[in-house]
Symmetry: C2
Subunit: 277 residues, 2 copies
């Protein structure tokens, strides 16, 4: 692991790091915010998974998470959204290929070799984080935005007991039922829609998976709400499954970091109460 940059900020240190990933076969970049702490202290971890077109940098620059993370003593990790590099296959669309890994392990050529974001986020990166940072991996939370909200929900649903707290900003709640999801899952996994269910939060809930509880904020003026995000499908799935969830519609807010940053501190506080010793 190499340090790309380190900046003192909000009574902590905002670092950016790169490492060679065995899963993706590429160099991967991520950011970590570590609050100032006593020398031998460990702190809980909050994973933030980003949306389409984003890298680690978007939330790191615009997410407004540091003040709250420092206040609550939480380390925030922001990974990239796909493998990168000239040798990685790509698609000219913004919603497939680079910047659009969808947190799946691809099985179709030419994507299968590098697009292993599920294994990268679920296994490889946590092992590195556990080794390199003062984290208490017994206290993890996860959140994310849009495609990253989908990632947070599905990773938490597939790994019961790993995350004490789960939230999302404007998540894609059912890739089986929206154009972004259908394109990505067909492209990475092929036509068999049964294989998609482990990458669909609503399907996972229907199939019996559960979260500890759930906080979701969704902008009421989000132009992707009706066609892609379909928050109501998650409300129905939670309701049918008896899954506790606080799903809030925020009137006037769109899909941007202007929305995310507004509710970031509330999400971190919500995670913090669940990540206490």
């Amino acid at each position: 692991m190499e340090q790309v940059s380190s900046n003192k900020s909000h009574f902590g240190t905002q670092g950016v790091y790169t490492h060679q990933s065995a899963e993706t076969g590429t160099a991967m970049t991520f950011s970590v915010f570590v609050p100032d702490h006593a020398e031998s202290a460990t702190m809980p971890v909050l994973w933030y998974l980003s949306g389409l077109t984003c890298t680690h940098a978007n939330v790191t620059e615009k997410g407004e998470f540091r003040a709250a993370c420092a206040e609550h003593g939480i380390i925030l990790i922001a990974p990239d959204t796909s493998p990168r590099g000239d040798d990685v296959p790509d698609d000219e669309a913004y919603d497939f290929g680079k910047g659009a890994g969808f947190y799946v392990d691809a099985t179709r050529s030419p994507w299968a070799a590098n697009f292993r974001m599920r294994s990268y986020i679920e296994r490889e990166l946590p092992a590195l984080i556990a080794e390199e940072f003062p984290v208490d991996m017994g206290r993890q939370g996860i959140t994310g935005h849009s495609m990253g909200g989908h990632g947070a929900l599905t990773i938490a649903l597939r790994n019961p007991g790993r995350f004490r707290s789960v939230s999302a900003f404007a998540p894609i709640v059912s890739p089986l039922n929206c154009p972004w999801g259908e394109k990505a899952l067909a492209g990475y996994l092929g036509a068999d829609r049964m294989a998609w269910r482990e990458y669909d939060a609503c399907a996972l809930l229907e199939d019996g998976a559960r979260l500890p509880d759930l906080l979701v904020d969704q902008g009421g003026a989000d132009t992707f709400l009706d066609e892609q995000l379909k928050t109501s499908l998650l409300q129905e799935a939670c309701s049918k499954a008896g899954q506790p969830a606080m799903i809030r519609m925020q009137p006037g807010y769109d899909h941007s970091y202007y929305f995310i940053s507004t509710f970031m501190a509330q999400h971190i506080a919500w995670h913090a109460t669940r990540l206490k010793d």
Copy 2:
């Protein structure tokens, strides 16, 4: 004035606007954050002047000011740092020409025609803001970063009584005594250093100008501190002038928005106490 964008954020509206400036002879872009408010309400204004290479966008995206502005009911205006456009003369250096207007009215060719940022910020833009936004122009504060900290200090010193509150992040405190300042003032104004004094906070204090009071934060690990910013000159000038000032050195912090965003809420709270009815 045309609206470029409008995003709901932090219980207010973050807008970006453009208008044709008579002073610069160009289109000028600026951002305005307006907290949610009662229909007929007016609010105090905080001006934020940006540093070298910046546009309105840097602080708008990375400044983390909206939560505090909404809490205190303050409108924040972020102008650009120079005229822009293919017809505007430029210099290939980052510290002169476009992105580096230094808040002066240039007198030398070819800069004099467009580089009129002093008059633009002191007169033209306030008149537009007063007309277009729900502002109480009797309650104004001003702040800025680096070159914009220089702008905030000098504009406040030259306009006694206009600003109830003045602060700065890592300001250039004496262009007469640093390479950035000497290059810019010689380039825009010519070799007569007496003409530079109205653009030098320390010289203005020495010549009798005063501020209501002053808050300055300066990063202790700022790589520009010793050669360009020279905070100690401002401390000495305030001390000699009997100018009340709280000038704080913040260990470990650099010159970036990671520093600015850390202390932004404290600055806004400080302005808010001075901008109350």
